[in-house]
Symmetry: C2
Subunit: 350 residues, 2 copies
């Protein structure tokens, strides 16, 4: 992309103006609002050039230009400068992310909510990916005949549990035996190395009749696998309805329809994460703009996520989904600050 300096400035100005006014921007208003030392005719030439390069486009012949996805991309990649938040804004976020909760999960939800409030967009967080974490503790608790609770504590301090069904006539003692055996052999094991076979061998020590034992172990295994599932927290979907970008009912409907399938969104974030990792792209932010997003109904959105760290090897994503016509630098700073705050607060749990 060989853009001379002025063309860069022009693109920069167009993005800025369009983001703040939501109107296609023309050569004249560009001159008015910015201190270009050239005439509008010159800008027109530049703009024609930029359009030729696919960076801007016009809704119709006699309208101003708006940035294309590619234009936003160029802006994000090499034009914008990120500014820090004001102390006031920082304070606001600090205040909202309340550290008095008892569980990491609540803290993450809290941060997600805050992010949605401060940006005014949809925010989301992924529960930590646990593959790389190991089992710190596992207990099977008898609840009542036929029902037990599998409680797992993972290395990152995350507690998960699941009610499972067990054979009716298993006694409390028998369950405790199984629990003890499994715990002894499984603690310290990385989650992704735990398979049905591992669990079954781990349980061998318990003196419990074979078929019963097997069933309990299977349930325990299923509980562990479930704990490993991805979880996503989405917040503030309704805020999108206040944006002029989604004043068309159809667009809004498609967007919220897609977002309502949180599993789908979670899958997409995961894909993004994997793609970024494969490319060795260890930029702290992942940004997808408009058509780059393969989810239906998000053509007019941008997707920005950052990675928060629970431990060195366990991390999750937090970010926002907003209109692609957004103040990128601002939103990125906001996400960044929330992420940092979250990281700091998480320390207290590990």
């Amino acid at each position: 992309m060989q853009l001379d300096n002025r063309k860069k400035e022009v693109l920069h100005a167009i993005v800025d103006d369009y983001v703040s006014t939501n109107e296609p921007v023309g050569s004249k208003s560009l001159i008015e609002r910015h201190n270009f030392s050239v005439s509008s005719a010159t800008l027109r030439n530049d703009m024609a050039e930029l359009e030729h390069l696919g960076l801007i486009e016009k809704p119709h012949t006699s309208a101003g230009r708006i940035p294309s996805d590619k234009g936003y991309r160029e802006y994000v990649n090499s034009l914008m400068t990120i500014e820090e938040l004001s102390p006031r804004e920082k304070l606001e976020i600090e205040k909202r992310i309340d550290s008095s909760v008892d569980e990491v999960t609540d803290l993450i939800k809290n941060a997600t909510y805050t992010l949605s409030e401060t940006t005014g967009f949809v925010s989301l967080a992924m529960s930590p990916r646990l593959k790389k974490s190991y089992l710190k503790q596992l207990k099977i608790l008898m609840i009542e005949p036929g029902k037990a609770l599998v409680v797992m504590v993972l290395s990152a301090g995350v507690v998960k549990d699941k009610v499972v069904r067990i054979p009716n006539f298993l006694s409390d003692e028998q369950i405790m035996k199984i629990s003890g055996a499994v715990e002894k052999n499984l603690t310290g094991k990385p989650l992704d190395e735990i398979t049905l076979v591992t669990v079954e061998t781990a349980g061998k020590g318990a003196e419990v009749p074979e078929p019963l034992l097997k069933q309990v172990l299977y349930e325990a295994y299923a509980a562990i696998k479930q704990a490993d599932e991805l979880n996503i927290y989405l917040e503030g979907e309704h805020r999108m309805l206040s944006l002029p970008d989604f004043s068309s009912l159809g667009r809004a409907r498609d967007l919220l329809g897609t977002l309502s399938d949180s599993g789908m969104v979670a899958g997409y974030v995961n894909e993004m994460e994997n793609a970024a990792r494969e490319q060795g792209n260890d930029d702290s932010f992942m940004i997808r703009i408009g058509q780059e997003i393969t989810l239906e109904g998000l053509d007019d959105c941008s997707f920005i996520t950052a990675t928060y760290n629970l431990t060195d090897s366990v991390s999750g994503n937090i970010g926002v989904i907003g209109p692609k016509r957004m103040l990128y630098s601002k939103v990125i700073s906001q996400i960044d600050f929330v992420k940092k705050k979250l990281n700091r607060e998480i320390q207290k749990f590990t």
Copy 2:
């Protein structure tokens, strides 16, 4: 309300027509669509009367009539007849409410989702109100220094837990002692009789230094109280955007904005429930129409809930929020059927 038979029929017809067409209905089209044995002029007189009574109204002078809130109310109270669902529809619901889940909570979520899908509206369920249930089991589990898990099993088979912070230097044994003492003295107690004092006396037996004991007991108490909190599941908010009734962005925004505050909705449902109980109104359905609903942005909605039973004394609500222009009889049957199915499935857990 003294309405002669024909006026009743007219109101009935107006509601039906308006619900199905979403257009104000005039005297002429009323004649066309229904077999009235009188002329349109007569109906006009009747309609003027109905309007005088406040049962119908016109958007503007030269338009047809639409039912007022009061009109819908009359319709719901004494005009409509509830028809059973077709076997096909029943089957569809039966199929969707999957009973293979392990926890009551999942079953309820499942039913909520199904209800939203079949009605096409927002559906909601309240977690069971637990006041009248008792503590079946309570265990405190050491997770790691400074952290414990309080696991509670309630009479209805509901399992709740909460991670709590405890003094760092408490040992596993000490926690087990406390757990044992509390459990021994608290099991069987109705939830609403459990206070901080009760918990503290219950823990007396444990041989653990006083201040430490007190802190743990306080946390346990807090966990129990939290288990008692109301929980609401809302589903399908985005579906409202597909309804012509909310084709105005403003309305849709207000509605979804309010619904996004699920705590507020939960509070409202609870109020409704209490109000109904005070009036000795043991109708199985609670219906609020339009302005009767005090939540902001729900003026164009109706709120219909039914009560499902977990045990004889523990119950919750399940229902829908839809446009007040809805097929009441149909929706009521749908809720009713889902409720019954839910009740049946719940049996398997208790």
